[in-house]
Symmetry: C2
Subunit: 161 residues, 2 copies
């Protein structure tokens, strides 16, 4: 597995699992029927933000994007989002992307990283981020409407870099 | 004082105090030297979001914008931002805008309102939101760089509607 900056050509391999994950409506606060065009504009962040892919040869296993969470006097706090292709789960792709993004953010001079909306029922993600040093700062009650579990909480997670 | 939806023509009266407040760098996580054009695009939110102004005759005393905080399965939580012209402080403009925005969000079917970045040293705002039923859910440490006070916390504030 190699992690590198995503190129425009990678989008065609990201979109199928991006669409599947977002359509499932269990983990992302994006419109479940988001268009390919809008998804690309959302995910393929221009510099100084980064969009990266984890690849195995010509296969894209997962992707992450990271950049400033706010602007101006709060622009020293990064945020990030992650997606792993369903067929590539259980291979440590999420962890490798998380470690990569933390290193990138440190190199870019950020002082902390904040996740704004980690669905509390997405326990695999919550555990992974905790193992990478993130703390649950608060849980916003009933802030996410899960298709099977109804209204569930959204964690704000944070760690210094 | 009347509060109404902002029109494109109002922007010329919002921009002077918007620029002053943002340039001060004490309360907003926007670039302190934000351009007029970018500020307008940021603040004058297209429907279904709202941008409102509090006016006294032809004078704009303050403004607020409100809309969904996230998309898709989290689009039932609103957020909002407020600015009161420095010359109009102490007249209850912020409170009137806050009450108006809460009513608008209820009418639009939102279930809660979340503020993502309330600077902890902006005690007038913190007290106002608490008096309107918001709770400090967490304080992200050192998440805002205040020009005089250095790194201070950002509150996440939340209330059900």
């Amino acid at each position: 597995m190699e992690i590198r900056e995503a190129t425009d050509e990678d989008w065609a391999k990201i979109w199928p699992f991006f669409a599947e994950i977002v359509a499932a409506g269990e983990t992302y606060a994006y419109d479940r029927d988001i268009s390919n065009e809008r998804a690309k504009a959302t995910w393929m962040a221009p510099p100084p933000a980064h969009t990266v892919v984890a690849v195995d040869g010509s296969t894209v296993l997962g992707t992450a994007k990271t950049g400033a969470n706010h602007m101006g006097p709060a622009s020293h706090i990064a945020t990030a989002s992650f997606m792993v292709a369903p067929g590539a789960r259980g291979r440590g792709v999420g962890r490798a992307l998380g470690e990569h993004v933390l290193a990138l953010s440190r190199a870019d001079g950020f002082r902390a990283m904040q996740f704004n909306a980690v669905v509390e029922t997405n326990t695999a993600a919550v555990s992974l981020w905790q193992s990478l040093g993130f703390e649950i700062m608060t849980t916003l009650p009933e802030a996410f409407h899960h298709p099977a579990k109804g209204y569930v909480g959204l964690h704000i997670m944070y760690r210094k870099l």
